[in-house]
Symmetry: C2
DNA sequence: GTGAGTAGTTACCCAAAGGTAAGCGCTTAC
DNA sequence: GTAAGCGCTTACCTTTGGGTAACTACTCAC
């Protein structure tokens, strides 16, 4: 009987694909703030200071960088309204909305996870 | 008419909650490799070198660190089988499997995203 | 003209993430 | 006995992430 090497089962190909997909997704969505930022703007368009207030903890520098990055990747758009003084509004694009399912699953999981962490904290004492 | 400040609409509370959930989820799932690593082990238990081979690009150092981290957070378990020589198998726990929906959504999105990126590359030339 | 707000930018700095390369202690295969 | 595989660890280094604080340029309100 011969051992077959380097020829994955068809089943394994699917697994490898989903692994690749996840890696590709993480490549653009990496970082501490990106997904939260997208979620915040999908919920409603906001100005710079509003975002900074909502994601308490993010610094102006990092927020500016992340916003540029997300704009480059077509997740958000920066709109300048010629009021006096000008209003600068960041909006989520349609492409951001393709993340809707990802975000709602992640939110649901995050909530469940918080409960679990709290419980295991209680057990310790 | 008075402007009400710092008293969000009930609707906004929900939004803030899902934002908080996502932030909490990202806190444990951060990093370049964590979700991919979990997915790989949910698909099948593996040994150290098998994982390193599957996630090509990850270094031994980082893999060892991530595995320890995931074990601490109850996502995987490290089993030592007393064969000669001993076999060390990493397995996903039940808790990893609670990420099933997150992972499948992320995989679906990653696949879609790759197609979109390829298309926009083509348009450039 | 002074202070406050808006939307950032810049310089400086620290810490964490993550890669490379070498090595260790073990065992099996040749 | 020598090489190769396994499961790491260690030392070293670079990159990045991200924080602070000061500053700009503009406008409005007092």
């Amino acid at each position: 009987m011969k051992v077959i090497k380097n020829e994955p089962l068809p089943n394994k190909v699917e697994c490898a694909n989903s692994l690749k997909n996840v890696l590709d997704a993480l490549y653009v969505l990496n970082g501490k703030w990106k997904l939260a930022l997208i979620l915040s703007l999908v919920q409603s368009s906001k100005r710079f200071n509003e975002i900074q207030h909502e994601l308490s903890g993010i610094s102006a520098k990092v927020l500016a960088k992340e916003l540029k990055d997300l704009e480059l990747n077509d997740f958000i758009s920066r709109k300048v309204y010629l009021t006096t003084p000008v209003s600068i509004i960041y909006e989520a694009t349609g492409y951001s909305r393709t993340l809707k399912n990802v975000l709602s699953e992640l939110s649901a999981w995050g909530e469940m996870h918080r409960v679990k962490v709290k419980q295991s904290m209680r057990k310790q004492f």
